[in-house]
């Protein structure tokens, strides 16, 4: 591990993993408690359309994907607001449509793109410094937004109907949450790829939920767990020469299994604090 740290690509990978963990801890917790995991999955996969678009037009990938998936997320948020009846079907369609668009656009792009797979399964070992800065910027934006609207987000997450009855602008917060989820997904794509992004968004918050006394505590604990999964996964992938994204997810899944075996630790004094 220590010798690996002497390589810049490995240091970058660690930073990328830690940044992704901060964001996944916060947004993943909100996604899990608001029960919009399926929506987050839809956003993650639809964002592939953004990747395709960026390659086809020759534009920078991360900003284009961020814009594209934010748009997809807002459409999905709008769909789930109105008639909830068939909202899941519509999300399923958008999910597939985004991916199909991405693949078709890549087909139409001249030349062979070896980078293609990296967006599906992650390329944490190839994260350039510019992307790190972009990730840090996005992380700051998301963190600021969550802090700014923390009370409203808590009220909506806990009981949306009650919050609406008190005049809390739940619609706005719903759109905000989906927009932030899109940004989060784009950042994490770099680390584990869009296929595996759901695992990093949901496994740490799931483990943390039953062991926290507040939403803020849950965010903190799932961020820590996520960081542990990333570091351990990176180390394993380096020493065993395995695909890094998949290894990180494998570690998270083992953690998930362990957490089910461990007692749910009701009174565990984990990262309390008022939300």
């Amino acid at each position: 591990m220590l010798e690996a740290l002497s390589y810049e690509f490995f240091r970058n990978a660690l930073w990328a993993g830690l940044l992704a963990s901060v964001i996944c801890g916060i947004i993943g917790s909100l996604v899990v408690v608001n029960r919009v995991v399926f929506l987050a999955g839809g956003v993650a996969h639809a964002s592939y359309g953004g990747v395709g678009l960026a390659f086809y037009m020759g534009w920078p990938v991360l900003p284009v994907t961020a814009g594209f998936s934010t748009l997809a997320a807002l459409i999905m948020a709008w769909v789930t607001l109105g008639s909830r009846e068939r909202a899941d079907t519509v999300i399923g369609v958008l999910w597939a449509a985004g991916m199909a668009l991405g693949i078709i656009l890549l087909d139409l792009t001249p030349g062979y793109n070896s980078d293609l797979m990296s967006y599906l399964f992650g390329s944490i070992l190839a994260v350039p410094v510019e992307d790190l800065w972009l990730m840090a910027g996005l992380a700051t934006v998301v963190l600021a937004l969550v802090l700014l609207f923390s009370r409203g987000l808590l009220a909506m997450s806990f009981d949306a109907d009650f919050a609406r009855s008190r005049g809390v602008p739940v619609r706005f917060l719903h759109f905000l949450l989906m927009g932030m989820t899109a940004l989060c997904v784009v950042m994490v794509i770099r680390v584990v790829g869009l296929i595996l992004v759901l695992a990093l968004l949901t496994i740490p918050p799931f483990i943390a939920e039953r062991r926290s006394r507040s939403l803020a505590g849950m965010m903190l604990l799932s961020g820590l767990l996520s960081a542990v999964f990333c570091v351990v996964g990176l180390w394993l992938s380096y020493s065993l020469d395995l695909t890094s994204g998949a290894t990180i997810i494998a570690v998270a899944c083992v953690g998930f299994g362990l957490s089910l075996c461990l007692p749910s630790a009701k009174r565990e004094a984990s990262a309390g604090g008022a939300a």
């Binding site: 408690v33 029960r35 409203g152 806990f158 009650f162 008190r166 005049g167 006394r213």
Partner: protein, 299 residues
């Protein structure tokens, strides 16, 4: 006590083209304890959502405490259906109650409250918890409480803002018999300070504390006294008593039958359920001549 708690006139509401509520008129005086009964899908919860401003009516007018629905803020306390809240949500009992103090609008959504304001909110919330008898659990996790206790926490959240009107959506669903009794005792105490509207699909929750009954099944009929008549029963359950007596619904409690004499309101049950045709249902029903609904009941 001058402004009625609720004033509804000619209200209708349609969901995906079909009318869920139609021709609803209701004036509820302050201080009442109204039980809203009706079969599932009859529009009870929709009526509550209309009162809260969570959905907008297709037509007609609603005034709640003299204002438009959804603009009363903390003057209305609301208890949503039990299943609304995830059982594992990481929150302490006290923090859950404090959420009842949230102010409307964008500006108040920030996380930064002053120290004094935070302390004030904690004190108000603790007082509210004390009223429902759960002050000693304030620091515990909400998910560690039983179903009945959690309902009481949500009632504490509903009353933390000092509301004048309390709207309850099936408060006694999915709690056991003893908790139900405790809840009803608590509600009747709260009724001394505020108007209560309670939606229920459970006929057995029409306890002594209820002062009037509204039957909602597309239309609404307000029975100004709380005595159970065959037609209230028929409207509320969709069960036609002529088909037989569903005794099991009345089998529990110290007052198994609450029956009043018939009245001559033709709108009461849309002419579908004949008045006075229920003598076979329970032997305590008097098949009376048309009378006004205010007639005293026989128990």
């Amino acid at each position: 006590m001058s402004t009625p708690a609720i004033e509804i006139s000619d209200l209708w509401f349609a969901y995906e083209g079909s009318r869920v509520l139609e021709g609803v008129n209701l004036t509820l005086a302050a201080g009442e304890f109204l039980a809203v009964l009706g079969p599932n899908g009859g529009g009870k919860s929709t009526l509550l959502k209309l009162l809260l401003g969570l959905v907008s009516p297709g037509g007609g007018s609603i005034r709640v405490l003299g204002c438009e629905p959804g603009t009363c803020g903390g003057r209305i306390g609301y208890l949503p259906q039990f299943t609304q809240v995830s059982a594992h949500f990481p929150i302490t009992v006290l923090d859950a109650v404090i959420l009842g103090l949230i102010q409307p609008g964008l500006a108040s959504l920030g996380g930064f409250l002053g120290r004094a304001e935070r302390r004030r909110q904690r004190e108000v919330a603790l007082h509210s918890l004390d009223r429902v008898g759960l002050a000693d659990r304030a620091q515990g996790r909400l998910s560690d409480l039983s179903g009945g206790q959690r309902q009481r926490v949500f009632i504490a959240r509903a009353i933390v803002s000092g509301p004048e009107l309390l709207l309850l959506d099936e408060p006694t669903a999915s709690v056991d018999g003893r908790s139900r009794q405790e809840l009803m005792t608590l509600l009747s105490r709260l009724n001394q300070e505020m108007t209560i509207v309670m939606v229920s699909h459970d006929m057995s929750t029409v306890d002594g504390c209820v002062t009037s009954i509204a039957c909602v099944n597309r239309g609404l009929h307000h029975h100004a006294d709380s005595h159970m008549t065959p037609d209230i029963f028929a409207q509320a359950t969709g069960v036609d008593l002529r088909a037989g007596c569903p005794v099991e619904l009345f089998a529990h409690g110290t007052v198994p039958h609450r029956v009043v004499l018939d009245h001559d309101d033709p709108n009461c049950c849309g002419g579908k359920h004949a008045h006075g045709a229920t003598a076979s249902a329970t032997d305590s029903i008097t098949d009376a001549k048309p009378q006004t609904g205010s007639q005293g009941g026989q128990e």
